[in-house]
């Protein structure tokens, strides 16, 4: 009798653990099923018409790539720098604890608050207006804690022996970090940054409040141009879906393209991450 | 030698930038929102009516706050049992290997999935389905709760499973050697020992839920005049959705815009307190896989 409840409990936990996978799979299939018909060459390279209810989504695609790339360009070096400091140089004192606390605090700030901040500080305060630059900077603020965490973790994971070996050969600390630690931590840092890129690609509120909604019929060129991204575009047309199947299809198509972009960036990094973690830690990780 | 010092300073500045950024964010948001908080006083928190276009405008957030609490509360109560059970599976029953990393990757994926995609699916699938089953609008606290639960679930799983894995293996052996079954061992030894980590994951999940914007926005209904909900099928507004909706209509420098910033301040404080609580509970443990 004890045996039966044991098996039941184990089965319950098994089911529960599959729920995230099932949900993810269900959502992807749902979008695929409904949106595949909307995605065509014209869709990807065309411009939105009739307020986005017809046509294509090229500006949004370009906007997404532009803003996310610019964001990572800013967030990555600072994140890696901070991670290096925390992992290599920081003494275990009060100040370090404070820094860590603030990184966590920043991570917990709701994205919409960052959007508000970006609006008052970047759009108005610094006079950048609704622009790709504003969007990228605000996004960078949001992604920063993630890049810091990922970098620090990756650098810490490098076995101490590598450092000792390098130092014993007379290399300075910075040289050791540059030539040994970074190289060893590179896969982990890169995959972590790519996951961060995925988050940046998917962010809506922050971007809408700092980069605006783009200029109709125009592909953003200068970083001071306003631009819309895929998530923003999806949100805007989702609000407008008349009950025409065409507009619905547009929305599904946008969602699918956005999801595809996100998955293209995230899935390889997840797989690579798992591969490397298991190489280092075996199955205990 | 000089480069050493330079590098140390540069990286130190990078690390310290987070402190600066947090202060900037809080400062500017407070600066914009404070005038409204002062002008309208505590009625912002307790007032029943949110009428930015009335003359004089009213900025009562009580129904919205209740909306936030009910949606988040519902989400957490759905996500927590599933999350803890899944965490138990990952930490105790699964044998490692491919299956385990698959489940963990799926959870990681679900964490960063663009919230607008989730909201969109909620809009085109969940809302009509709920409307068909329960009647009414479909847009509801229930819809918001379900969507939020999906978003919070992976967080709870990750942090809880870390906490459970951290319980020393010896305890399990000692318990098994006394004749306890695996589930008894989990229930009476492992879970109580992991209690603080699990609690922290729930609190963090709650914080996430309160701060979540796009996914809830698209499924809760956002009535023009927010009212205090009486059933989970009622439409509501939440703090975050109010900001987004009205942002495009508010004029820069107006009381309405400032009121939105006031909401921002409130959100900042709530999530800061939540994070402080969880941080205090977790106290300096660096979690390898925390999202």
């Amino acid at each position: 009798m004890q045996r039966r409840s044991e098996i039941l409990i184990e089965a319950l936990t098994w089911v529960a653990s599959f729920i995230p996978a099932i949900l993810a799979g269900a959502m992807i299939s749902f979008l695929l099923f409904n949106g595949a018909s909307a995605v065509s060459w014209k869709f990807i390279t065309g411009f939105p018409e009739k307020g986005g209810l017809e046509g294509g989504i090229l500006p949004a695609i370009i906007g997404s790539i532009y803003i996310s790339a610019l964001c990572m360009l800013m967030a990555a070096p600072i994140g890696i720098g901070a991670g290096t400091y925390l992992a290599e140089y920081a003494p275990e004192n009060l100040f370090t604890k404070v820094v860590r606390f603030f990184v966590e605090l920043l991570a917990g700030i709701p994205s919409i608050v960052i959007g508000l901040f970006g609006y008052v500080f970047l759009v108005h305060g610094l006079g950048l207006g609704f622009s790709i630059l504003s969007g990228a900077i605000a996004l960078a603020f949001m992604i920063l804690p993630w890049t810091v965490r990922v970098s620090e973790e990756a650098i810490r994971a490098v076995p101490r022996d590598y450092r000792y070996a390098s130092l014993a050969l007379g290399a300075s600390k910075w040289k050791t970090i540059r030539t040994v630690v970074y190289v060893a931590a590179r896969p982990a840092i890169i995959t972590g940054l790519m996951l961060g890129l995925g988050k940046a690609i998917g962010e809506t509120a922050v971007v809408m409040m700092t980069a605006g909604m783009g200029i109709t019929g125009y592909i953003p060129v200068s970083p001071l141009d306003s631009a819309r991204t895929l998530p923003v575009h999806l949100y805007l047309i989702a609000g407008e879906i008349a009950n025409t199947s065409e507009s619905l299809k547009m929305a599904y198509g946008t969602a699918l393209v956005l999801l595809a972009l996100f998955l293209m960036v995230s899935i390889p990094s997840l797989m690579l991450r798992n591969y490397f973690t298991r190489r280092l830690y075996g199955d205990a990780g | 030698m000089k480069t050493e010092g330079l590098i140390k300073t540069l990286t130190f500045l990078c690390a310290g930038s987070s402190i600066l950024i947090v202060f900037l964010i809080f400062g500017y948001t407070l600066l914009e929102g404070l005038p409204v908080l002062i002008k309208y006083g505590p009625s912002v928190l307790t007032g029943l009516y949110w009428k930015p276009y009335a003359d004089p405008p009213q900025f009562g957030l009580l129904p919205t706050i209740i909306g936030t609490l009910s949606v988040s509360g519902l989400a957490i109560s759905m996500a927590t049992p599933i999350g803890i059970f899944a965490a138990i599976y990952l930490a105790e029953y699964s044998g490692g290997g491919f299956l385990k990393s698959f489940i963990e990757s799926a959870a990681q994926l679900l964490v960063s999935i663009p919230s607008v995609v989730l909201g969109f699916i909620g809009l085109v699938f969940l809302v009509p389905t709920l409307a068909k089953f329960f009647g009414g609008w479909g847009f509801s606290i229930l819809a918001g709760g379900i969507v939020l639960a999906i978003m919070t679930l992976p967080h709870i799983i990750c942090i809880s499973s870390d906490a459970i894995k951290a319980v020393p293996r010896d305890y399990r052996y000692a318990s098994l050697a006394l004749g306890a079954s695996k589930w008894q061992t989990i229930r009476k030894v492992v879970l109580p020992a992991a209690k603080s980590g699990i609690l922290a994951s729930i609190i963090l999940g709650l914080g996430n839920a309160i701060g979540e914007t796009m996914a809830v926005l698209m499924v809760i209904g956002n009535p023009e005049v927010p009212y205090i909900p009486t059933s989970i099928l009622d439409r509501v507004r939440v703090l975050t959705s109010t900001i987004v909706i009205e942002f495009n209509y508010a004029v820069w420098g107006s009381d309405q815009m400032r009121a939105l910033f006031a909401i921002g301040v409130i959100l900042f404080i709530i999530t800061a307190v939540v994070n402080l609580l969880a941080f205090h509970i977790l106290r300096g443990r660096i979690h390898a896989k925390k999202i």
């Binding site: - | 010896d170 305890y171 000692a174 318990s175 050697a177 006394l178 004749g179």
Partner: protein, 263 residues
């Protein structure tokens, strides 16, 4: 005449309570125990000795089916009172209650002293406070801890010293009324004074319980054992009455080990 009587008496009193037949254990690809045939006599102290890594702990864990929890593969038979404990009809939880175990490092559960001792009882469904109180007290007295802790039963078990914790673990194991008590190097992490106390405790307990001690310390084995099993590289090299083995070991290996040529 007298010799025969002693042999006869000894033979009658030497009832095996545990017996293994062709016991083989694998950890993954490592063949930890090879064709082990041995007996453990009832209500005596048996010492399993041998150099580190030879499989002594593995043999011990084979007796209470804890090997399965570690993921090891077991083949062969282990008889407890003539019942093969590895047969499908036997419930491992029941086995573990009849054959208790104390570990090398004292493992107090993260609870109070009282709750530690009461744990096994509560698992078994005992809820009556008075019954629990009585049994907790009895077993703490058995291990000589009662006077030391009776005023702080609610304190965390971690507040005890190493030696006290180990005695607590013994009390905890005894509380479920096992017939056999397995101890895996119970004193190797303790100071000499605590070691002595526990050795004396074991001698007292062997009147009522079958005691099996794994030790890598030959002198401890000499002090405690009435029956000895000497294991080397996963195989039983020699087993039998302690007196005989220590005075007159049959195998060169045994002789060398006792002399201290290797450990």
């Amino acid at each position: 005449m007298q010799v025969k009587k002693t042999l006869l008496r000894r033979a009658l009193e030497y009832k095996p309570i545990l017996k293994s037949e062709k016991l083989n254990v694998w950890y993954g690809r490592v063949h930890a125990l090879k064709d082990v045939d041995m007996i453990i006599p009832s209500k005596r102290i048996t010492a399993i000795m041998g150099p580190s890594g030879c499989g002594k702990s593995t043999l011990l864990k084979a007796f209470n089916r804890l090997l399965e929890a570690e993921g090891a593969r077991v083949e062969g038979k282990v008889y407890f009172h003539d019942v093969d404990i590895y047969s499908d009809s036997v419930d491992p939880y029941v086995v573990r209650r009849k054959i208790g175990m104390v570990f090398q490092k004292p493992i107090p559960l993260p609870m109070s002293i009282y709750d530690n001792v009461a744990y096994g009882l509560r698992i078994g469904g005992v809820k009556d406070r008075r019954v629990l109180d009585k049994i907790v007290r009895e077993n703490l007295e058995k291990v000589g801890l009662w006077d030391e802790v009776k005023d702080r039963l609610r304190d965390s078990a971690f507040n005890l010293s190493g030696g006290q914790q180990q005695r607590l673990c013994i009390a905890r194991a005894l509380a479920v009324e096992p017939e056999v008590l397995l101890l895996d190097e119970p004193t190797s992490s303790l100071d000499p004074a605590s070691t002595k106390r526990i050795e004396e405790l074991l001698k007292r307990l062997s009147r009522d319980y079958t005691i099996v001690v794994v030790t890598h310390n030959v002198h401890q084995a000499m002090r405690l054992a009435e029956h000895v099993i000497f294991i080397f590289e996963g195989r039983v090299v020699e087993q039998g009455e302690a007196e005989r083995i220590f005075k007159n070991p049959k195998s060169i290996l045994t002789r060398a080990y006792i002399k201290g040529d290797f450990s």
